[in-house]
């Protein structure tokens, strides 16, 4: 009975998590081909015997064409930028939540987190409506006489980071608010008793003690942001090479499945270290 209750979900995980990941590695060594599916796997059956026809051309192309290295770098920059902005805005927000009266803490935190569940498509629609050339923000600025001609906001880095921050900010606030609400305030009182000014207390006691939560918040944003596809596609600069978009384009437009798989492996390899670090933080 117990064995059956464990094997059933184990089989599901092996079939739908382990097997697809292994296939990704397998197909990355294949080559693009005409047909359905448009890929020649690395191992083929010819006359009843397996024949190795695998190739490293996808990986070679990734190394040769600077387009892909550029996409990797830009993805990491956008992910780090998003995570950095989320910390800059999220830390004071979390601090204010932690310093609020106890019965206000949970409602305030809920207010920060609830937008996550308002649906990504409606949220992105809202940003398009706000940022378009004829959009709400330009309308307000024009009427106020602050600008003469509409600003180009949509399909720019401004829109990209606004959309990314809007989606990911709550994820940064959550671990920070929990850590700051639980912190030992006695240490701060001791530092103040010993004559430290409030700014000094924050910089030498509160902030250093919250660094694990800061790291967790950064990684919680950085990891999903690095592979983000939908937000840059709808708000960011057109043709902006980010790994999520490049994988999507190689797969759906170029129909080069081995190259898409190789790019996915690169993304995984780059994220392996942050993911590992995040899981360690979670345990400690």
């Amino acid at each position: 009975m117990r064995a059956a209750l464990i094997s059933a979900p184990f089989l599901w995980l092996l079939a739908l998590v382990a097997a697809p990941s292994l296939l990704l590695g397998w197909i990355a060594f294949g080559s693009a081909a005409e047909g359905v599916p448009p890929v020649a796997p690395p191992l083929a059956w010819q006359a009843g015997a397996p024949v190795w026809q695998g190739s490293l051309e996808s990986f070679a192309l990734l190394l040769e064409d600077p387009h892909y290295a550029g996409a990797l770098l830009r993805s990491l920059l956008v992910a780090a930028g998003t995570a950095g902005l989320a910390l800059l805005l999220g830390y004071p927000m979390a601090y204010a939540v932690a310093e609020a009266r106890p019965r206000w803490r949970l409602p305030l935190l809920a207010l920060v987190l609830a937008p996550v569940w308002t649906g990504l498509m409606p949220r992105l629609g809202a940003w398009i409506g706000l940022l378009r050339d004829e959009g709400w923000i330009n309308g307000v600025l024009l009427r106020a006489g602050l600008i003469e001609a509409p600003l180009t906001l949509l399909f720019s880095d401004v829109a990209l980071f606004a959309g990314m921050l809007h989606s990911y900010l709550p994820y940064a606030v959550l671990p920070l608010a929990i850590a700051l609400a639980r912190r030992d305030r006695g240490l701060e009182a001791a530092a103040a008793d010993l004559g430290a000014a409030p700014g000094r207390v924050f910089l030498s006691v509160t902030l250093p003690l919250s660094l694990p939560a800061v790291a967790a918040a950064f990684l919680l944003v950085f990891i999903p942001a690095a592979g983000e596809f939908v937000i840059p596609e709808l708000l960011g600069p057109p043709g902006d090479p980010l790994l999520g978009r490049v994988i999507w384009a190689e797969f759906f437009q170029s129909r080069d499945w081995p190259l898409a798989a190789a790019l996915a492996l690169v993304l995984l390899a780059v994220l392996a270290l942050p993911i590992r670090a995040y899981q360690r933080l979670g345990r400690g």
């Binding site: 296939l23 927000m93 207010l111 649906g119 498509m121 949220r123 690095a226 993304l267």
Partner: protein, 265 residues
């Protein structure tokens, strides 16, 4: 200072959503322009067959995926909390956590490869012609959802005193009776929350659904996504409000199911 940033941050988070909701009731054909109160865009939605078809598909996929996620994810969470030592446990834990951290383009691509090769094998070996569509989206969404369900169930069971189960066993209950009368009732709130969480994840997903569905499976978010690529229309704006209302209602039910139980963690 911090309070001011909190207020500004909340404004940043909520203003776009509230403006979207408000302008959905505007008669103007340009989105985010006020043209007087009107329900015309909701009426237009009610007559849009493509939207309704996609919404129906999305709701059934989400319900199916959430139910599967609870069945499998409940077992995964139970195995992690109460399974003790079993062969392959480190791998089991790794696989259960993987969908939480893998980028969605990677999950989508790898699941598609599995489904395509599975289709090929089924046709060659069994002569079955399988189509990708609602079924494959359900499998993909269930796999993502079950990882969240497992975390919730595991956390819930980790807080439950194992002595309760031991006491029931000492009093003569069979393992199945212990599970049915002690463990399972304790899992119910996290299963309800996990179901709603999986349901909303599924209703929000564009990437997995785009990868694993065939031409037949256009879910509501995929439909909105392709329409937003052309720009925002008042109809999509109104649709956003409908989704908002649905998700917030689901969130309310989830909060109610978990009320006072996991509040402190």
């Amino acid at each position: 200072m911090a309070r001011l940033v909190l207020a500004l941050g909340l404004l940043f988070l909520w203003a776009p959503i509230l403006l979207l909701a408000g302008y959905a009731f505007s008669a103007d054909r340009i989105p985010f322009q006020w043209g007087g109160f009107s329900l015309r865009w909701f009426a237009a939605l009610a007559e849009n067959a493509r939207v309704q078809e996609a919404a129906l598909l999305s709701l059934s996929v989400a319900a199916g995926a959430a139910t599967l996620a609870c069945l499998v994810g409940g077992l995964v969470g139970w195995a992690l909390a109460r399974g003790g030592r079993f062969r392959g446990r480190p791998l089991f834990g790794l696989l259960a956590g993987a969908p939480l951290v893998l980028p969605e383009v990677v999950t989508g691509l790898s699941l598609l490869l599995l489904f395509v090769l599975g289709q090929g094998a089924a046709e060659k070996l069994l002569g079955w012609r399988l189509e990708r569509g609602a079924g494959t989206i359900v499998l993909a969404h269930a796999t993502l959802g079950l990882a969240y369900v497992a975390v919730l169930v595991q956390a819930r069971l980790a807080r439950l005193d194992p002595l309760l189960e031991a006491a029931a066993q000492d009093l003569g209950a069979t393992p199945f009776t212990v599970f049915r009368t002690i463990t399972l009732p304790q899992m119910v709130p996290s299963l309800v929350a996990g179901w709603l969480l999986s349901f909303t994840l599924s209703l929000d997903d564009v990437v997995l659904a785009s990868f694993v569905s065939g031409p037949a499976g256009t879910t509501l978010p995929v439909l909105i996504f392709s329409s937003l690529r052309m720009g925002l229309t008042p109809e999509v704006n109104a649709l956003g409000v409908v989704i908002l209302a649905l998700v917030l209602a689901a969130l309310g039910v989830a909060g109610w199911a978990l009320r006072g139980r996991g509040g402190r963690s």
